[in-house]
Subunit: 142 residues, 2 copies
DNA sequence: ATATACTTGACTATTTTAGTCAGGTTTATA
DNA sequence: TATAAACCTGACTAAAATAGTCAAGTATAT
């Protein structure tokens, strides 16, 4: 069970973006340099974030990206959703025949996976981008 | 972010095992048939479970497996640990150079992933095999 | 004009997953 | 003691997912 780096990068890049957001648009080039993420990969990720209206692009020289909503309103769940990072524990939903239909034991673990999925999703729904930045500020080193 | 089927199968198979455990050893063949998991794959999984002393094998005709501890004492975390299903969110721990060392923004998400990891692990540490079976009994259909 | 920066889609090497396969060993029971 | 049921182990592999790269643009501030 692991997070893919696409999801991790998305959160990381947005956190970076959120810190500079008030001043100017942030270029992907800068994020790429600061966070060590390939520019091409960032473009893929931001394309998705833009489609889901999490960020807004500003073209041309001195262009870049800004947040489209306030950091407080961007939950981690929105970010993961945008880049197709899904929390997926059960498989039996799609396979209708081999699934847990009628089988007691399978249904029993099915409940467990659902519960786990909710548990994780709750975590993501509670946390906003702002929470991340706040936390960081508290811990900032000089 | 997803669970691998090795982890899912391990839990499923143990739940199956736990229900028949009091009477006789349960053969992998039976579990394989009941749960639709390949026998060869089950053997791989049970080999690991045995090494971690979660189950005990009984050889020979009419042999099979029994739980080595009480269902109450087997937590999901033990099971996942046995089959190498790890909850892994952060990557920066092993890469010492590209990691979050000195970088504020990385450290900030690092905290997040740690928090998430704990959140999930807590869930696994709370649930025991017994919880699963109990739940099932409550929902048993006639 | 032109450099900077976004935009898109196709492509690919690597890794992980989810098993299979082959060839054992052990032991209850007839 | 023969034998079949059941465990045991390690090597192998096809398929899928991941983590990007590459190429060829378009838009716009200066």
């Amino acid at each position: 069970m692991k997070l893919t780096s696409k999801g991790r990068y998305a959160v990381l890049a947005l956190a970076d973006l959120a810190r500079f957001d008030n001043i100017n648009p942030v270029s992907l080039r800068d994020i790429s340099l600061r966070q060590g993420i390939s520019l091409d990969y960032l473009e893929q990720i931001f394309s998705k974030l833009r489609k889901k209206e999490i960020v807004q692009s500003i073209r041309g020289t001195q262009g870049g990206y800004i947040l489209k909503k306030r950091a407080k309103e961007i939950k981690l769940t929105n970010i993961f959703d945008a880049v197709d990072e899904k929390v997926k524990t059960v498989q039996c939903k799609k396979e209708s025949k081999k699934g847990c239909n009628g089988k007691l034991t399978k249904c029993l673990t099915h409940n467990l996976w659902d519960e786990l999925e909710n548990h994780i999703n709750n975590f993501f729904e509670e946390k906003s981008l702002e929470d991340l930045i706040k936390k960081d500020t508290n811990e900032r080193r000089i």
